[in-house]
């Protein structure tokens, strides 16, 4: 029997996103030269929200792009269904820029690894930071996030789902046990 447990609701998520936006500004001493890139699927609306808060707090325009990492996955030979590849849109030159990668969940680190390779194929940014809403902790690669919404140590058999209004019905974070 599967059980669902809600970890974060809409209000709590909003507070976390605002805090993360402030942390990004604080750590980078403003947002000059900052370019935000969301990883498909849920990283993309998250990137837009974080960018919105940073723009509001700093009164500066932030560029937002999206990235599909399917072609960079290391498990292409194992997956049974072929995922639909979505458009990667980086409407800016990343050469020498400051890139903030955004994803919903960090777990094994393999998606982040693929995203780093994907980004580096566009050019050589000055540096790349990683922001995630949930860090589950089951790392298989030496990768850490610079900004974490919530640490949520979980077993591998559990799954964590971040729901967003833009894609799902509500803003919430759930733990699901099968």
């Amino acid at each position: 029997m599967s059980t669902k447990k809600r970890i974060l609701d809409e209000k709590e998520m909003e507070r976390i996103l605002k805090r993360l936006a402030n942390e990004v500004i604080e750590k980078n001493k403003g947002c000059e030269g900052l370019y935000i890139v969301g990883i498909h699927t849920r990283g993309v609306p998250l990137a837009k929200r974080i960018a919105h808060y940073i723009e509001k707090f700093e009164n500066e325009k932030i560029h937002v792009g999206s990235l599909d990492i399917t072609l960079y996955r290391d498990d292409l030979a194992y997956i049974e269904h072929q995922p639909v590849i979505q458009d990667s849109i980086l409407n800016f030159d990343i050469e020498g820029k400051h890139i903030l990668l955004i994803d919903d969940v960090l777990n094994t680190g393999r998606t982040a690894r693929a995203a780093l390779n994907a980004i580096l194929d566009y050019g050589r940014p000055a540096f790349i930071q990683l922001l995630v809403i949930i860090d589950r902790g089951n790392r298989e690669l030496p990768i850490q996030a610079d900004f974490v919404g919530k640490h949520l140590p979980t077993a591998k058999i559990e799954s964590v789902q971040v729901h967003l209004k833009e894609v799902d019905e509500a803003d919430e974070v759930l733990i699901i046990k099968d």
């Binding site: 072609l71 030979a77 049974e80 072929q82 639909v84 590849i85 458009d87 390779n117 194929d121 566009y122």
Partner: protein
């Protein structure tokens, strides 16, 4: 009806064994590949460690180079076999050639041959996926896919479009694959050319409309595709002369006025400028001939990715 949306391990002999959904999936994937080809660094690591062999028993420039570029841009390795300068000249059979290459660990074969059916033969001996890059007069499915992708990209869909294909229909494998694919995707196809270069029963077999008058054929057309007039057909006595052919079937600006205002002009190449198409048309704003070549690499990358990535076929409802 059941269909597999997973193309892993599939052959591509012709478009008749591909469904509408599968063809659309190839188009969607090709769109992404096209973006990669427009980057400064045109390479992704997706098919690292795979090896593709291109077996060209017949001459080719664009198709072979297009396949080889597609392969290397996905980080797979490519070995290139051409029948001239190979052991075929010493009498080695296709069967033994394939056994030899297979023993060196080829994952996928791209095959062109002047005899129909050789791609199937290579599949039989290798037990590896085979992409047909043109077999005799039979089929040239990757050319048809890139032609259809070029239209799909500009028009959003092929449904209800009038496509006129003009020229030597009899000897063209490009036409046969395009007829199957375009009809499947919902286009109305008109074929047009001299009677001596028109295969019998093309209307019954392919559901195409057949016209011998160019004006009628391209009237209100959304797409006009000219085919290469192979000069050796003249010595075979199939048409009287190039001048006469051009005056009756050559695409000129004057002729194009009968088509729709936003007509797309296409040509699979290589072109005989001034014969089947006048330079004023080939270089006009309607022409997407050069873009067809660009799209060819993207479509072939999509096919290689979909066929070499993932686990072999799982049926989905």
């Amino acid at each position: 009806m059941k269909h597999t949306l997973n193309l892993t391990g599939r052959n591509l002999f012709d478009l008749d064994d591909y469904s509408v959904e599968e063809i659309e999936k190839i188009f969607e994937t090709a769109k992404v590949m096209k973006e990669i080809n427009s980057r400064e660094y045109k390479k992704i690591p997706t098919l690292r460690g795979k090896t593709v062999a291109t077996l060209f028993f017949e001459d080719s420039t664009r198709t072979r180079i297009s396949f080889e570029l597609a392969t290397t841009r996905l980080s797979a390795d490519v070995v290139s076999f051409t029948s001239t300068g190979s052991s075929l000249k010493k009498g080695e059979s296709i069967q033994d050639t394939v056994y030899t290459l297979n023993a060196m660990g080829i994952d996928l074969y791209v095959v062109r041959h002047s005899c129909p059916g050789v791609p199937q033969l290579v599949n039989k001996y290798s037990n590896k996926p085979v992409l047909n890059a043109g077999d005799g007069r039979h089929a040239h499915p990757t050319q048809a896919l890139l032609d259809m992708f070029s239209i799909w990209e500009k028009k959003g869909s092929l449904k209800g479009l009038k496509v006129a294909i003009v020229g030597d229909i009899l000897h063209s494998r490009v036409v046969r694959s395009n007829l199957i694919g375009m009809k499947k995707m919902g286009a109305d196809v008109v074929v047009c050319g001299p009677r001596t270069l028109m295969p019998p029963k093309i209307e019954e077999v392919y559901g195409a409309t057949c016209e011998y008058d160019l004006k009628t054929a391209i009237k209100d057309a959304d797409v006009v595709m000219a085919l290469r007039m192979q000069l050796e057909r003249q010595t075979e006595g199939l048409f009287p002369g190039l001048g006469e052919y051009t005056s009756r079937y050559g695409l000129s600006n004057k002729m194009l006025e009968f088509a729709k205002d936003d007509v797309l002009v296409m040509h699979p190449g290589p072109m005989n400028r001034g014969v089947e198409i006048l330079p004023e048309v080939a270089d006009s704003e309607h022409s997407i001939i050069i873009e067809q070549v660009t799209n060819g690499v993207a479509v072939r990358m999509a096919l290689l990715f979909l066929i070499l990535g993932g686990k072999p076929g799982r049926e989905v409802a």
